[in-house]
């Protein structure tokens, strides 16, 4: 079992009450996720339902993004597993996939008839442009989670800026970026965490 987060938090965050609630929560957010679900996950789970804090969300997302496989599916099974173990992971993942799968099949069958219409292609194009904005905005909304980061604001900005340039401008493969920039970044965080705890231990207890 993965027990719920026990880290002390000023705000009490409640999790889902049951497997059914978990399943429908993920179904509902997956069905809103046109052109990518992550924006909706952040809105629904962090802001509306408050199942986890922004910082916890970034932590989970870091793991989900680095592991192979579909990112938001990884995220759903990690979050489900956090609350209800294996059954929770299945419930969340099933919610994420089941109804959207039916919708996409219906669309595929229906779209075969209208694929050549300019209006249908235009609508797809317009929604794609909005979806690009949603993903960008999700990144912007996660920025405050970096405030408490042990690496400090300057290193965080350098790491984020270098990642953006390497991926968006220079089109480097993701694996290289994760190793080349993520490696040093993690090492720096490791060093800073060490000095921070050494400082805490060196200080006389009040």
């Amino acid at each position: 079992m993965i027990e719920a987060a026990t880290a002390p938090s000023t705000l009490q965050h409640r999790g889902p009450g049951s497997l059914t609630e978990l399943f429908w929560a993920f179904t509902w957010l997956a069905l809103q996720g046109f052109g990518g679900v992550l924006a909706v996950v952040q809105r629904e789970l962090v802001e509306r339902r408050q199942w986890l804090t922004l910082e916890e969300f970034v932590d989970e997302w870091a793991v989900a993004q680095i592991l192979p496989g579909p990112n938001v599916v990884n995220l759903s099974l990690m979050l489900g597993g956090r609350y209800f173990g294996v059954r929770g992971a299945f419930a969340a993942m099933a919610g994420m996939l089941l109804f959207p799968l039916c919708v996409v099949l219906l669309l595929a069958v229906a779209f075969a008839g209208v694929a050549d219409l300019a209006a249908a292609q235009g609508a797809l194009r317009g929604m794609g442009a909005v979806a690009a904005g949603l993903i960008t905005a999700t990144g912007l909304r996660l920025l405050p989670a970096l405030r408490g980061n042990t690496m400090g604001p300057v290193v965080c900005w350098i790491a984020a800026g270098a990642t953006f340039i390497a991926v968006a401008m220079w089109r480097f493969p993701l694996a290289w970026v994760l190793l080349g920039l993520g490696g040093p970044s993690c090492l720096w965080a490791w060093y800073r965490l060490g000095t921070a705890s050494a400082r805490q231990q060196g200080r006389p207890s009040p």
């Binding site: 099949l105 442009a129 993701l174």
Partner: protein
């Protein structure tokens, strides 16, 4: 297009997606070139238009992008004859792409959650945080500049920028924005 697929072919489809599942760092979409080589070029199980429309439709539909894999399996099955095979193809493709990465992710997540106080685990999460946030912005940027003709595409860029600012700064419901984008596109304004 009609195919006849043997049991060995179905197994090959399964193992192909299962292998890619563990290589798909950054999402299933990163393995699209490899899928294209296998399904279209080598095996000829899908036509080029079937391959691209599988991706475009899954992007436009609600839900995780990985569903494009379901559509590819569906189309392979349809080429092999009828809805029954299509359902089989879909099940095979989704099983392949999901099972290996799911098992790995679940065990890794359990481990990292149990050891979340370890210095190495905390360093990993803190060190990766700025990268994964920047990756989201890079993804949005790349999707936007996929349309790269300033004269005809400035409208699309504007739509992307406006929706990014609205979602960032306001609590407007995301479906309104998507509906507006679809309407603007259907009317031919962007």
């Amino acid at each position: 297009m009609s195919l006849s697929l043997s049991t060995a072919d179905w197994l090959a489809l399964l193992t192909h997606f299962a292998t890619l599942s563990l290589l798909a760092v950054g999402g299933a979409i990163t393995t699209v070139p490899e899928m294209h080589r296998f399904l279209v070029t080598d095996q000829r199980w899908l036509t080029d238009p079937q391959f691209s429309s599988s991706i475009a439709l899954a992007q436009a539909a609600p839900g995780p992008n990985v569903l494009f894999v379901a559509l590819m399996g569906w189309n392979v099955g349809q080429n092999a004859g009828g809805y029954g095979f299509a359902a089989l193809g879909m099940a095979v493709a989704m099983t392949g792409i999901l099972v290996p990465s799911t098992l790995l992710t679940y065990s890794a997540a359990r481990w990292s959650h149990r050891n979340r106080e370890l210095r190495a685990v905390r360093a990993f999460k803190q060190g990766m945080a700025p990268l994964v946030i920047a990756l989201l912005m890079a993804t949005g940027y790349l999707l936007c500049v996929a349309h790269d003709d300033p004269r005809s595409d400035w409208g699309l860029w504007l739509v992307t920028a406006v929706s990014a600012v609205l979602v960032w700064r306001t609590r407007i419901h995301l479906l309104w924005l998507l509906g507006a984008g679809a309407a603007l596109g259907a009317l031919g304004w962007v």
